[in-house]
C-alpha cells in the first residue's frame, strides 16, 4: 500500500515535482505514466527513500518514507531503472547478498533464494557468474534480488525499457503473479500500451504534477478521450497548460 500526498522536490533551481498525490492499493497494479522527465523516477526514488522530498508525505505500508526509512525499506522491493548486477558474482550470490543485507541468514536465506530461483526458472544459470548473462537472465536475477525479503510493496522503474518482446512478456506474467499474491505493485513507464496492458489503476504525471488518476475506464470518462493513448496525450497537454496558467 502506497499513499502519497503533495510531494514536492527541487534539485537546485529545477522544480522536479510540483504536486504529486496518489494511492496504490494492495492486490493491484498501479501504473505511473508520463513522458521522460515528467518526474516518475524522482517520485519512485522518494518512495524508495534514496532521496527526500522537500514537501509532502509518502507512506509505504503505513511507514513514513522520510521518518522511518529503514522500516520502509524492509517492506519495499525496488527494481530501479537499468539496475545492474555484480558481474564477478554468480546469480545466486547476487541474490544472497541482498538477502543477507535484509538480515536473512543460514537456512532461511538459502530457502528464500532457492524459492525465487525456482519461481523465476533460473536454475540453469544461477551458479554462473553474472557477466555472461542474457538480458532476460539479468532481469530475472534483478527481480529476485528485489523480492528476496518478500516485500509487500514492489516498485519497478521503467522495467521494460530496452527489453526484447520475450522478456517483456515474461515480466508481465511475473508482475501479474505478484498481484495474485496480494502485493501492491507500482511501476512506471512512458509507453501507454505497456500500462494499458497491465494496470488496474493509472496515474498520469506531467511536469511534476499528477494530472489524471483512476482506472482506465475512469480516465476515459474524465478526459473524454476515445482511447487511452489520446487520454494520455490530452492529460499531458493539460499539465503543460496548467503550468502556463
Amino acid at each position: 500500500m502506497i499513499e502519497v500526498e503533495g510531494l514536492q522536490k527541487r534539485f537546485g533551481t529545477v522544480q522536479a515535482l510540483q504536486d504529486v498525490s496518489f494511492k496504490a492499493g494492495d492486490g493491484r497494479i498501479t501504473g505511473l505514466l508520463g513522458h521522460n522527465g515528467a518526474g516518475k523516477s524522482t517520485t519512485l526514488r522518494i518512495l524508495s527513500t534514496v532521496i527526500r522530498a522537500n514537501e509532502g508525505r509518502a507512506l509505504i505500508d503505513g511507514h513514513d518514507c522520510a521518518q522511518q526509512p529503514l522500516e520502509v525499506r524492509r517492506s519495499l522491493g525496488v527494481l530501479p531503472h537499468a539496475s545492474g548486477l555484480y558481474a564477478q558474482l554468480s546469480g545466486r550470490e547476487n541474490i544472497s547478498y541482498y538477502g543477507e543485507l535484509h538480515g536473512l541468514r543460514g537456512v532461511e536465506l538459502k530457502r528464500s533464494v532457492d524459492e525465487l530461483i525456482e519461481w523465476l526458472n533460473l536454475g540453469a544459470v544461477a551458479e554462473r557468474r553474472a557477466k555472461g548473462y542474457s538480458q532476460g537472465e539479468r532481469l530475472k536475477v534483478n527481480l529476485a534480488r528485489a523480492l528476496i525479503h518478500r516485500p509487500q510493496t514492489v516498485i519497478l522503474d521503467e522495467p521494460t525499457n530496452g527489453l526484447d518482446v520475450n522478456a517483456v512478456r515474461m515480466l508481465r506474467e511475473l508482475i501479474r503473479g505478484l498481484r495474485e499474491s496480494g502485493r501492491c505493485v507500482l511501476f512506471s513507464s512512458h509507453v501507454m500500451q505497456e500500462v494499458a496492458a497491465l494496470c488496474d489503476d493509472i496515474v498520469i504525471i506531467s511536469h511534476g504534477r499528477v494530472v489524471v488518476r483512476g482506472t482506465p475506464a475512469e480516465i476515459l470518462t474524465t478526459t473524454g478521450a476515445p482511447d487511452l493513448e489520446e487520454a494520455f496525450v490530452r492529460a499531458a497537454e493539460d499539465g503543460v497548460q496548467g503550468e502556463v496558467q
Partner: protein, 392 residues
C-alpha cells in the same frame, strides 16, 4: 554491524575474482616494483665495482711530447693508448662515445715546462655521460698528483721545503655506517611501498561510488534496510584490507629481493630481516586509512570509472610528493616532520632500515597525526555518501 561484515565479505570476494583488480593490486607491488628496484641497484653497484677494479684506460694524443708524464701515468697503472687526434677530432670522438677520455698534450707543453709556466694539457670528457664520470675523476686526480710532484721537485731544487705548498692537509673520515650508505637507494623503497599500497585499493575505492553508479547497482543498494554509513564502512574496510595486503606482500618481496642484491659489494648493508619488515609494515599501515579515505572521497565526486581513474592517478601523487622531496634533499627525522603524514612513515621506515634508535615521541606523533587525518578523511567519505548527489 553484521551488514558491515556482509558488505566487506562480498567486496573482497568480488574483487579477488576480478583479474583486473588482482593484476593492478598485486602485480605492481609484488612483482614489478621489487624487480625494477633490484635491477636498478644491481646495475648501479656492478658499475661501481667495475670502475674501481678496472685499470684506467686513457687515450693520449701527443704522448711523445711529455714522456715523463706518460711514464708517471704508466707507473700508476694507467693503460695508455697513443692516438693521433687533433683537438677537434678528440672532442668529436668523446662526444660520440667512441672514446671515454682523451688527454691532449699540446706542442707548447715542453716549452712551457722549461720556462716554468703552466704547461697546457687538455682532458676531453663528457660530464653528461655518467658512465665515464669516475674514470675522468681518476684521470684528473692522477694529473694533479703529477703536477704536485713537479711543483715539489721545483721547490726542493730551490731549497724550499715541499710542504710549503701543502698549507692544509685534509683527511676525509668517513663515518657512514654501511647501512647508512645504502639509504639513498633504500629511500626509493618507501616510495614503492606507498605506490603499491595505494594501487592495491585503487579499484575498490573507485567501485564504492563511481563504479556502483556506472554499473547501476548503487540505487537498489541504497534502498536496502541498512544505513549508508554501514555500507560505506564495509566498502572502505575492504579497500583498506587490499591496501594492507598489497603493502605486506611488497615488503616481503623486497625482503627476499634484497638478499640477492650485492649490496655488500658497494660497502652497504640493508637491515631488512623479517622483524624489520614487520616493523616497517606496522609503521606504514597507519597510512592506510588516509589513502582509503582520500581515494574514496575523490572518487565520490566523479561521474564514471574513467573519470575516477584519471583523478585518482593524480591524487595518488599527493602522499608521494613529500617522500620524493625527502629522498632528494636527504631530510633528517625531527618531531615536527613527524606531524606530516606519509613523510613520517617514510622517515620512520628509513630509520628502521638504517637500524637507528627511534624516539618514542616520533612514533607517537607520526601515528597519531596520520590516524587523525585518516579518521577525518574516512568521516568525510561517509558524510559525502549521505548526499543525494551520490546517485549522480
Amino acid at each position: 554491524m553484521r551488514a558491515v561484515w556482509t558488505v566487506f565479505r562480498k567486496e573482497v570476494l568480488e574483487n579477488l575474482r576480478d583479474r583486473r583488480v588482482i593484476i593492478s593490486a598485486f602485480f605492481f607491488g609484488v612483482l614489478l616494483a621489487p624487480v625494477i628496484f633490484g635491477l636498478t641497484i644491481t646495475m648501479v653497484s656492478k658499475r661501481a665495482v667495475e670502475n674501481q677494479d678496472k685499470p684506467l684506460a686513457l687515450a693520449i694524443a701527443g704522448g711523445h711530447l711529455a714522456p715523463n708524464l706518460v711514464q708517471f701515468l704508466r707507473e700508476n697503472g694507467v693503460q695508455i693508448e697513443d692516438v693521433e687526434l687533433t683537438s677537434d677530432q678528440a672532442m668529436n670522438a668523446v662526444r660520440s662515445n667512441e672514446r671515454e677520455l682523451v688527454l691532449l698534450i699540446s706542442d707548447d707543453y715542453g716549452k712551457a715546462l722549461e720556462l716554468g709556466e703552466p704547461a697546457p694539457l687538455s682532458l676531453v670528457v663528457d660530464t653528461s655521460n655518467s658512465r665515464t664520470g669516475p674514470s675522468a675523476e681518476r684521470a684528473k686526480l692522477l694529473l694533479n698528483a703529477y703536477g704536485h710532484q713537479l711543483a715539489a721537485l721545483r721547490l726542493m731544487v730551490r731549497g724550499i721545503n715541499a710542504s710549503m705548498i701543502d698549507p692544509i692537509g685534509v683527511h676525509t673520515l668517513d663515518v657512514a655506517t654501511p647501512a647508512g650508505r645504502a639509504l639513498l637507494i633504500l629511500g626509493m623503497m618507501t616510495y614503492f611501498c606507498f605506490m603499491s599500497m595505494l594501487v592495491g585499493g585503487f579499484y575498490l575505492a573507485i567501485d564504492t561510488t563511481a563504479g556502483e553508479r556506472e554499473r547501476h547497482s548503487l540505487e537498489p543498494l541504497l534502498a536496502l534496510p541498512i544505513r549508508r554509513a554501514e555500507l560505506i564502512t564495509g566498502k572502505m574496510l575492504a579497500t583498506a584490507a587490499f591496501m594492507s595486503v598489497s603493502l605486506l606482500l611488497t615488503l616481503a618481496t623486497f625482503g627476499v629481493v634484497l638478499t640477492f642484491i650485492p649490496l655488500e659489494a658497494l660497502g652497504m648493508s640493508a637491515n631488512f630481516g623479517p622483524r624489520v619488515v614487520l616493523a616497517i609494515f606496522a609503521v606504514m599501515v597507519t597510512f592506510v586509512p588516509v589513502g582509503a579515505g582520500l581515494m574514496t572521497v575523490v572518487a565520490s565526486f566523479t561521474r564514471s570509472n574513467r573519470e575516477a581513474q584519471s583523478w585518482l592517478s593524480v591524487v595518488m601523487m599527493l602522499p608521494i610528493a613529500p617522500i620524493m622531496f625527502a629522498v632528494v634533499s636527504g631530510t633528517k627525522p625531527s618531531a615536527a616532520l613527524m606531524a606530516v603524514p606519509s613523510l613520517s612513515q617514510h622517515l620512520l621506515a628509513t630509520s628502521l632500515m638504517r637500524g637507528d634508535a627511534i624516539p618514542t615521541t616520533h612514533i607517537l606523533i607520526g601515528a597519531s597525526t596520520t590516524l587523525a587525518l585518516g579518521a577525518l578523511l574516512v568521516g568525510l567519505a561517509i558524510k559525502l555518501y549521505q548526499r543525494e548527489a551520490i546517485l549522480g
